[in-house]
Point group: C2
Chain length 513, copies 2
């Protein structure tokens, strides 16, 4: 009963909060008066490549963000990891007299890798391009609006990290700026924390959190990453799935062979890999790796209730994405499915297809896999389950970063190599009934009329367990991007209205009561 | 008994023939005196790109070959297909007074597509590079030998089509030249025929054969394509498998999705494709597509006997290729396996792997497949069997060159598109006991001591059935390349001694008795 009461209380908070939102109008006025400048700076930010492996440009990105902070009167500090050559986290701090709470606002400035060939014609990952609608809704490229020109908020900007997560940097820094310039004061001590290695698995974040433990004390981290709800309504997310990547490569002959002279005698590594991957999942989407679902911590009653109240989006999404069937049992919802651990093929390649295809038996076939983890899963344990599965399929498994030796090739009929891409991390969930959680919900609710959607956990991943483990910190995620932002893939984009809404959301959060 | 006698007769032919080979010494002397010039011209030929889709360079290749013919006193004629823009076949003719036979010598001048990124460091597909040994045996790049410098015949030359099939052009034209310049005369009327579209499926070859039917009358076509036997001994091959290519693409969501936000709800096309491909073949290499082996014409007794006499190469090859297991039942030999139709994955791709991998659910997954056919198989029927199989797996199959419509996406949970790359062709086998077949074997035998290996059919494919159907012609294949030439793949190469041997083989064939 107490749990059910909590849910009702949350809903009451939501409905009453919107009434207090008159200050939002002032934030909006500031934004309307400054749209050109806001976008001008943002476009510059988007145009700097931000892949972790591009060490020069990732540093340029960090420098640009530091200059954005300076322009807003926030003194930037680079928090360096112990390991050399790692992109720094960028820190800033605004103390508020008499504030009783400290909140750290997090976004990350690095982006997912890009394959420019896969982007639509006329789009380049690091050239911010305006489109008059989403590409898959027939959007056409339009010129960058000139100063003073009317900016339609349904237009989109395309480019890597427009949403994920330079959009987060935009919302946090401009939310702060709009609040100050509109004559308001924060209610809390504000800390800014912009990570530079999130898309590469946050491998060195623990070093930074350890080293700057004192500086990073807070009552809460608010994470600005990910989308709003698919219905377009803002959402507050209390947890994330964990994530760990693995590459599986299966070996064939030492040199590529003519598929006629050797085909159906020499085994084909692409066929072996598809047989191996196929053994991992049934047609219903159930992962067949032994013990895969064993460690999962069940949802609490509060969480189950919250899930039951999430608006249904399945029909809309299936229509939008052009799919007639989904994984899972009949009627299982998206939110139910992403409450489970997953095994996903991110990519697969062997030799060539299309115009480059040649009649060969390839030497190797490679799959990139990501395992999403939920509360209870441990990343190493989950990877080990998959390795065990591969062994059970009759494979000799190499887990080091090397090719098989001649001796191994002579000895084992099936050889696979499993290697991690870069670090990974476990899931994390913050309790939905903490007092500060309710204050966050209330603040976001002041910025919109529709009830804020509350998710016990999103499907995506962020290294939030590190904050919990190292800093004993609570984390709540409030994303701003449109759900159809092509995050992590080609043609990433953001809808301009989502940038504007983000300013309001973050200004409200910095004034939460 | 008659069949067994035939085999004995062939062997007797082999053993007696080598005794007559004194003229080979003269051919060798000519070659030794001209090695630099021979290679110089050949390197120029290799350095001209020869992919069919590169229309400018494929024409340059044809022009260069025409000039090679002119330098040898052979008047080149371009035989054009009815369809415009198709690479011509290049024809030439040398009439011999009192000759009673006419043989057409065939090679093709186009090459397999290349992906330069997959070639070893320092190698480019169209820069002929000298190596002091095979790359996978630790070969190192060496400078192109200067005029007069000693050329080690175990060196290799790397580049697309060094073996397949500019090596064939080299052997035929220089075999002819060496014969004439050494003071010999051909015993037959010689016709030269160099095709320009073989690696693209010889789609327009039937047009050319039809149009020039009269010009192309002969007693035999000798095909200079493919390798010598894996033991290094020359082989005469009486047939080829057919080949037909198909692309299978499986569709996922209309836009790429974040694997966290949607992973294990939206179906992953890469996982669906691996499940589909996996259903096509068992772990023993048996194709599970219904009726796949049904049309196969059994081998004749002569052919079975010949197969039983092929030297065993399985142990050598497994060692060389670094594989401990092969497809098929325990003890099945390479030659037995390639006497069956095959289903081979030439390439597979969905999204990205390695550094470019991102945590996504891809929109599409694609496999390039080739089906090798044996006598009795029909290319269209074999493709249809695979399409039927895909349908039986619950797929809606699109066979046109288009994407699925929104209506189809709403209606069908599983959508695959099957499309052909370019034409394909059926298998062909020439009877081993024809009198002219014995003359060919005898001629090749004059050039080496070891018994010539006789194969009823090679594993590779050539459009030989077209010659049979349109011209009622017999065809026999005598390849010259080293077996480890990486034909069709990256790092294609030829061993220089194989070029030298090729001159002798073809000079001998032009003087056959």
């Amino acid at each position: 009963m107490i749990k059910i009461y909590t849910i009702f209380a949350l809903i009451l908070v939501q409905i009453s909060a919107f009434a207090q939102s008159s200050y939002i109008e002032k934030i909006q006025s500031f934004r309307k008066a400054n749209e050109s400048q806001l976008l001008d700076e943002y476009l510059k930010l988007v145009s700097i490549p931000n892949i972790v492996t591009d060490t020069i440009n990732i540093q340029k990105t960090a420098q640009f963000i530091a200059s954005m902070m300076e322009r807003r009167g926030i003194k930037p500090q680079f928090l360096e990891a112990k390991t050399k050559g790692v992109p720094p986290s960028i820190f800033g701090e605004i103390l508020t007299p008499n504030a009783t709470k400290t909140i750290i606002f997090y976004a990350h400035y690095d982006g997912q890798p890009v394959n420019p060939n896969q982007w639509a014609e006329g789009l380049k990952p690091f050239e911010a391009v305006f489109m008059d609608a989403a590409l898959d809704k027939g959007g056409k490229r339009i010129p960058v609006p000139q100063k003073g020109e009317n900016i339609n908020p349904t237009w989109r900007i395309y480019g890597r990290s427009t949403s994920d997560d330079k959009g987060g940097i935009f919302a946090i820094l401009n939310g702060y700026d709009a609040m100050i310039k509109s004559g308001f004061k924060p209610s809390i001590n504000i800390k800014f924390f912009f990570e530079g290695e999130e898309e590469a698995g946050s491998s060195h974040l623990p070093e930074i959190l350890e080293k700057y433990k004192n500086k990073l004390q807070s009552d809460l981290w608010i994470i600005c990453d990910g989308p709003v709800h698919q219905t377009g309504v803002k959402q507050v997310v209390f947890g994330v799935r964990g994530d760990v990547n693995m590459d599986i490569r299966v070996y064939g002959p030492k040199r590529p062979l003519h598929s006629g002279h050797y085909g159906n005698w020499i085994e084909n590594p692409a066929m072996k890999l598809v047989q191996l991957l196929s053994s991992m999942k049934d047609k219903n989407g159930k992962v067949l790796v032994k013990e895969f679902y064993d460690d999962v911590v069940p949802l609490s009653e509060t969480e189950k209730k919250a899930i039951s109240q999430v608006p249904s989006v399945e029909k809309q999404l299936k229509n939008e994405l052009g799919v007639a069937s989904t994984e899972g049992n009949e009627g299982e919802s998206l939110i139910e499915r992403i409450s489970l651990p997953s095994l996903n093929i991110n990519g697969i390649q062997s030799a060539n297809i299309g115009k480059l295809a040649a009649n060969v038996i390839p030497t190797v076939a490679i799959a990139a896999i990501d395992l999403r983890l939920v509360l209870g899963n441990d990343q190493q344990r989950q990877v080990q389950k998959v390795i065990n599965h591969i062994k059970e399929q009759g494979y000799f498994v190499i887990t080091e970063d090397r090719e098989p030796t001649d001796e191994e090739r002579q000895k084992y009929g099936n050889i696979a190599r499993v290697s991690g891409k870069l670090g990974g991390y476990n899931a994390q969930r913050t309790k939905m009934d903490l007092p500060i959680a309710q204050e966050v919900i209330k603040a976001v609710q002041t910025t919109q009329k529709e009830p804020v959607v509350l998710l016990p956990s999103g499907g995506g991943s962020l290294p939030l367990y590190m904050f919990e483990q190292i800093l004993k910190a609570n984390t709540i995620t409030v994303g701003i991007a449109n759900h159809d932002n092509n995050q992590h893939a080609e043609n990433e984009n953001i809808r301009i209205q989502n940038l504007w809404n983000g300013i309001e959301t973050y200004a409200a959060l910095m004034m939460l009561k």
